[in-house]
Symmetry: C2
Subunit: 582 residues, 2 copies
């Protein structure tokens, strides 16, 4: 109450502002216009926008000749994909003017359940980035893999009750929603009245009506303009996504019209640390939208007011009295690059750098998830019980795979990798400590799924990692068992990570001690280590831009056609586990 | 859950719809386009919008050649101004396609407090009209009148907690808000995160920033385009009002642009029963907007999606799966006149008439407010203690008055009305049973305020009524004390009402037994009785279009310049009670 009274006094000009942005050209997302005005800030909020006031200010930033826009909002991002904690993620995006993100802590939830969700919320406190946490809706993705946790409708309700979760994150099990699955409807009901995000690639017609009728409010999986238009028409908010591994911006910008633009937002979904540092976040999407020909104020609105309104975040998304003083100050209307960023009323970044780069210590994370594998009991040997094997045909830059059948290379009664044919061996080792359930091979206390994969391009050695959507078991791809063991052990060390090995030698590693998903180091260190890993994999023959990201989706049993989990090969089209030998 | 599962089955085409709107041209407020589509309805909700489905329907309405729009929403209305209960109000607006209203039960709250607010919510249950109740924010308006109740911040919080109130209704005490009044900020805080409606006539500049910074989200008092644009620019939702006594539509339609239109809604605020029946509600505003030149889809959006989005009512405002099946079916895009209205999935009106006009019995209302005046102790005699008196100079069609000083007509030591000079006597009699507090004359157990008024035009007799904003005490205006007594007694009978009298004869009366504000009769009866009252007042000389509405604002002590309450004459500019004689 006292802070509000002071805010009003500053608004009236009866008290000094904490900070005055003086003489800038304010991007007004309500009217679509730009007006020269002073912006007075007090207690972290905007007090007044308008003519200069009689009262003074403790600090003044001269904004003459510059533009003042609301801080940008990423409508949907998995922070874990940056391989960083929220603080380090913030260090990459806040200096670019992204001051709020809506996050789905889906990855850590698959590893550590509700505790993982709460951890992400706690690890986001006190940052210059406002992190709106959504409750993951589909943990685990299916019963065909061993995840580290299960999130129930009651968990979702508790996360809402406790103020941790703002809404329900992308409901990926769209066939389940459309069919009226009780568990999913229960989760949606637990978030009634709150934003419920969707994920329905390629869904159309009556099925799309059913998906929307269940209460889903958005989608970020549209790939073609027609798909995007159909989703807008049925009432879904269109979150245009430009992720490291799924680029939809260029295809979907032509969909935006003055009539529908209020229903469109920007999101990044998954961005690798290197891309965050080099290209940025939704700020890059805004610039590209302007280059495409969208009016700059409209482009900024797509990443500010629209997102705030869709998510019911009336406290941000505009330069207006009462809202959080999250501000992006820039020089060229046609190319908004943050010269200065205000978050919560404080200048936090200048010229693309945080003024205080010190990362706050994260909450305790040692108990988040497990990576306790008894490697003495793990074997990658595949006894040949036939001549032809199913092979995961991975495709460059795609999450879908081909379901191939090829002749096995059999040596001494065992099926082996065949680098000459780009046929690597792949293993998924349960790391969450659940007992083996007789699917896959029962090894090391959990399941181990074994198979073959083409398209990774390794000629020697192996790569391994504990980032494997969505269950995040330990996945290994290699051309010989010894390298696979070395890589797997290196990746599993200290709670998880990514590694490259050849023979007995670990060539490179990136420890991800936070649930096996995130580093506790600054993002530039993480990006550098990540680059080294990719270089090491390249030295072993893989031509892929990011073989680790490719690998992380080869274990995702909800995207067609053939995938491998710790329980074995999954024929996604049949939605069942199938044998390796045919 | 079962109803949702059935909804999804209907959406998929796996179960029969309850109702199928077949082949109509659907107004899509998301995309701004019109598409021919079937609309399948189940369990009161829209299940599917799109191509004809394989499954059938229990009932089909052939909509070929017709347009299908979402039911309209009135963004702000005092239902009490219709002099009718919600059921009778609904009978006037629902057949016109208005299926939701956001209401501020401010009048009944001034009479009966929280019980009045709860009554309005209860009286709205089960109607074909969805009534969203906002918690009144300024009860009483000031301490310079005796209201029937006080609403505290704790009351507001309780109304929220109990699910009665959706948000905070127009915060009329804008000087208090701007100054940081603790009680008002407490009420706003009690509704944090919910819609907080404003009311700030003529406020601009730094004061407008302060008002918005307090958390106010809207305003419906803009009169000029510049005022409206300034309010839009500061982030207030612009509710354009067209009330019986305050007509702003023509002036403000030119303000709407494609850039700002999402921030604009339509509302009626106060409409007399006759106008509701003859002209309608926001449906009339939509038609006039189209005639003005606004695109019909945009005009419909102003009274549907925009209002739903501003108020966070994601369950309505569009023809889209999952939303309430509240539908307006009409023939001409350029002139939307309801041919058929669906509410909650049922056809409720056709060709402007409710299919089932029977009014449900209202909840018990006898205990709402009081009108127990001991008329034996009430006297309208004014002892002349000077020669010159203050006179309320009422102005045609305006709520503001002039503060005049005129020579008194003194007869036998008493100041009397002087019809020759259009100088009537006016009395405001406290009816809420509070003890007199020594202001005004202590008569009849409460206060009686006495004064003179010009501009009503009565040449004989008197008019009286218990509708007197905001405190709703009994107000009487007449040219002789005997007529005033007769009119006052007639108005006070049975809990309150409006009356016209001459000498000992009551010429016409409209009983308003619900809190002295509302009839329990159908709206056509109320409108007819209301017309008779006005005719009777006209027979006594008053040339005003509606002297009762004029009278009802002559006791409102927050609108300049001079008003009369039960505590005496109020100099509104000085914000204090002043003597009658100068």
């Amino acid at each position: 109450m006292d802070s509000t009274r002071n805010l009003l006094a500053v608004a009236r000009g009866a008290a000094d502002a904490d900070l005055l942005l003086c003489g800038g050209r304010v991007v007004n997302v309500f009217t679509g216009t730009i007006e020269t005005a002073d912006v007075a800030i007090a207690g972290g909020r905007i007090a007044r926008v308008g003519a200069p006031a009689t009262a003074g200010a403790k600090r003044v930033i001269d904004c003459r000749g510059r533009f003042i826009a609301p801080g940008l909002i990423d409508a949907h991002v998995h922070i874990e994909s940056s391989l960083c904690l929220p603080a380090a993620f913030a260090a990459a995006v806040v200096p670019r003017g992204v001051t709020s993100v809506v996050t789905d802590p889906h990855e850590i939830a698959n590893v550590a359940g509700v505790a993982g969700v709460r951890f992400m919320a706690e690890a986001s406190r006190g940052l210059p980035l406002r992190v709106i946490v959504m409750a993951p809706s589909c943990v685990p993705a299916t019963p065909m893999a061993s995840a580290g946790a299960t999130l129930t409708a009651e968990d979702v309700a508790a996360l809402r009750r406790d103020g941790v979760a703002h809404g329900l994150a992308e409901v990926m099990n769209y066939p389940g929603v459309i069919a009226g699955d009780a568990d999913l409807l229960g989760k949606i009901a637990a978030m009634a009245g709150r934003p419920i995000d969707g994920h329905c690639p390629g869904v159309s017609g009556a099925a799309l009506s059913a998906y929307a009728a269940a209460g889903i409010g958005s989608d970020h999986e549209a790939v073609t303009p027609d798909e995007a238009r159909a989703k807008l028409a049925i009432g879904l908010q269109l979150l245009i996504r430009e992720a490291t591994n799924a680029r939809n911006l260029d295809a979907l910008l032509p969909v935006i019209t003055p009539q529908n633009s209020r229903r469109v937002c920007f999101c990044t979904d998954d961005r690798a640390p290197g891309e965050l540092l080099e290209s940025g976040s939704v700020d890059e999407m805004v610039r590209r939208a302007i280059r495409f020909g969208i009016d700059p104020v409209e482009a900024i609105r797509l990443a500010t007011l629209n997102t705030a309104e869709y998510f019911g975040l009336g406290d941000r998304g505009a330069i207006a009295p009462g809202r959080h003083a999250d501000v992006l100050i820039f020089d060229e209307l046609q190319n908004p690059v943050a010269a200065c960023v205000i978050a919560g009323g404080c200048e936090v970044a200048r010229d693309g750098r945080l003024l205080d780069p010190a990362m706050p210590p994260p909450p305790a994370f040692a108990a988040l998830g497990r990576c306790a594998i008894d490697f003495e009991r793990v074997s990658f040997r595949i006894k040949a019980v036939g001549e032809r094997v199913r092979v995961i045909g991975s495709l460059a830059d795609q999450l879908v795979t081909e379901h191939r059948v090829e002749r096995a290379r059999v040596v001494d009664g065992f099926a082996e990798a065949d680098a000459a044919r780009d046929l690597a061996k792949m293993a998924v080792i349960g790391r969450h400590g659940g007992a083996a359930d007789g699917r896959g091979d029962d090894q090391g206390g959990g399941n181990v799924g074994l198979g073959f994969i083409a398209g990774i391009g390794l000629r020697r050695g192996a790569i391994a990692g504990t980032v494997a959507h969505d269950h995040h078991n330990l996945v290994v791809i290699g051309v010989d068992d010894r390298s696979m063991h070395t890589a797997a052990r290196a990746a599993a060390r200290n709670g998880g990570g990514l590694a490259v090995a050849e023979g007995e030698t670990a060539l490179a590693a990136l420890p991800l001690p936070v649930g096996g998903l995130m580093s506790d180091r600054p993002i530039d260190e993480v990006a550098a280590a990540h680059a080294k890993l990719i270089a090491a994999a390249r030295s072993l023959g893989s031509p892929l831009g990011d073989p680790f990201m490719a690998m992380s989706f080869m274990a995702l049993e909800v995207i067609p056609a053939l995938k491998l989990t710790d329980k074995g090969l999954v024929d996604v089209e049949k939605f069942e586990i199938v044998g390796l030998f045919v």
